[in-house]
Amino acid sequence: MGVTVRVQEEDFDPQAEQDALTADRTDVGAVATFTGLCRSEGESLSALELEHYPGMAESQIEAAATRAADRFTVDALLVIHRYGKIAPGERIVFVAATSRHRDAAFDACRYVMDYLKTDAPFWKKEHRVDGSEGGWVDAKDADDAAKERWE
């Protein structure tokens, strides 16, 4: 069981990352992935700017990923989270879980996403197409509720 967490500004190649998890392995039956993309919110946004707390961002994601990997018996669990300015349609976050069976892979992937939303120190500032100052994206009650389903 290997947990890998990367917090980085640059984009990445999800397929290459996923293939690396299963390279030379023939005991992995299931790979579940999640990709979070920046939305334009009805073409009103030109970008989201992600601020993060270096160090704590990595450790909080690692903590959630390690809990997920233990609880759901995955072979490998990879999380990549970007920061900086991200345009609509671009990748923000990627989670990939490999396992012998599909339930563990799905559960691990979803668990990590649910905890990321509320426990990873990132904040998103909106940049608007019309040049006006955008606000900070609010935390959602729905995200707290999503996390609670694992508790």
């Binding site: 990321l116 990132f122 904040w123 935390a139």
Partner: protein, 85 residues
């Protein structure tokens, strides 16, 4: 005690600096008294901390409750609810 304070997102914007090193007075023992004291440091601080109950606090990168004792951390971070993912 000198300690590094870090501010993120709209707390950083309102306070006006991303970080600073301050000498904490004796009156600051837990998170609540820390936020009360910081709010007296100027207009930006007062604005940033006008709703202290929604401010999240991490001591040496560990999230803590507002009732937590401060102890002797190397850094204290203040930020809004997190919105990762």
């Amino acid at each position: 005690m000198a300690v590094k304070l870090l501010y993120f997102a709209w707390l950083r914007e309102r306070i006006g600096v991303p970080e600073e090193t301050v000498e904490l007075p004796e009156s600051v023992t837990d998170v609540t008294t820390l936020l009360d004291w910081l709010a007296t440091r100027g207009e930006g601080y007062a604005y940033a901390l006008e709703s202290p109950e929604i401010v999240r606090v991490a001591l040496d990168q560990q999230l803590v409750h507002q009732s937590a004792q401060i102890g002797e951390p190397r850094e204290i971070a203040l930020f809004p609810p997190m919105t990762g993912g």
